[in-house]
Amino acid sequence: MDRQEVLAKIADAAVEVLGVERELVTENANFKDDLDADSLDLVEFVMAVEEQFDVSIPEEKLEGIGTVGQAADMVIAAQESPAPSAAESGTSA
């Protein structure tokens, strides 16, 4: 899956979980400032993304997610080094 595909799926998740308009979810959109997401929103969003991509995003990385593009990079990084739980399930996105 290339970066554009990851971005598209992440945008879907953002639209669904955060209830924002699709056109607002650009690569540079900031979750907090542009998409009006609070910490609970961000956790919900990350859980949805983890499920969709079958990856595990470590708790300490959550702070680093500022923009939609950063979230995509985090998913790509997580796919390259799957967490034990993701690896055990025997699948990858």
Binding site: D38, L40, E44, M47
Partner: protein, 241 residues
């Protein structure tokens, strides 16, 4: 979802919630027959029940139990974290297992259930969490270091949840029963029971139904502005704490 629902306060909560129109997941640890009786009581109250077996100390079992209830009834919007055990003893003689097992069931168990329930409640923008504490959490109780510590822990857990989830219309409250007539207090000696009764201003043990009535209120729409509360149902025993 009511944990510890095969008897006592849990059964009464399941029945009271059914009477208020809820479909009830009857979560129980080992007493299959008791759980079946609870389901029968729920159905007699005009409700639907699904018995799910899970040791709340085991997060995977809790996850599976929620999965079963969600499949049957949809997302869990009301959680009564009631499952509890006691292993009383003076602290010099309290071994690690007596300490740990009570903490795991009474405190970790509530944590596991709340953690599993929270995402669905957030999404629904509605949720009711009620934990079942004890008057001993604040007053202390000789011979119950493990039990009192676990129940006191529930207060912090519940109030943290009240703050964390409030913006999504999820409330979290704790009921703190005093001496209630259940299998747990049936194990007391007559002498001990009389001594406890003497300390209760209302002069008697309470019933599981009297606790369940308060739990049902906290789960109702009428209690929408109540969160983070510690509500005693103790005949006045805890006054001043």
């Amino acid at each position: 979802m009511v944990t510890g629902a095969s008897r006592g306060i849990g059964r009464a909560c399941a029945t009271a919630l059914a009477a208020d129109g809820h479909r009830v997941g009857v979560c129980f640890g080992h007493d299959d027959r008791g759980a079946a009786e609870t389901c029968a009581a729920v159905e007699a109250a005009g409700g639907e029940a699904l018995a799910v077996k899970a040791d709340v100390a085991d997060p995977a079992a809790v996850d599976a139990a929620f999965g079963q209830v969600e499949e049957a009834f949809g997302k869990v919007e009301v959680l009564v974290a009631n499952a509890g055990i006691n292993r009383d003893g003076l602290i010099m003689r309290m071994d690690d297992d007596a300490w740990g097992s009570v903490l795991r069931t009474n405190l970790d168990g509530a944590f596991h259930a709340i953690r599993r329930a929270a995402p669905g409640m957030l999404r629904a923008r509605f949720g009711r969490i009620v934990t079942v504490g004890s008057v001993t959490a604040l007053s202390g109780s000789a011979g119950q270091a493990n039990y009192a510590a676990a129940k006191a822990g529930l207060i912090g857990l519940t109030r943290a949840m009240a703050r964390e989830l409030a913006s999504r219309n999820v409330t979290a409250n704790l009921v703190a029963p005093g001496p209630i007539t259940t299998a747990m207090t049936d194990a007391l000696t007559d002498e001990r029971r009389q001594a406890m009764t003497g300390q209760v201003p209302l002069g008697r043990f309470g019933t599981a139904e009297e606790v369940a009535a308060v739990v049902a209120f906290l789960c109702s729409d009428a209690a929408g502005y109540v969160t983070g509360a510690v509500v005693p149902v103790d005949g006045g025993l805890g006054m001043g704490h």
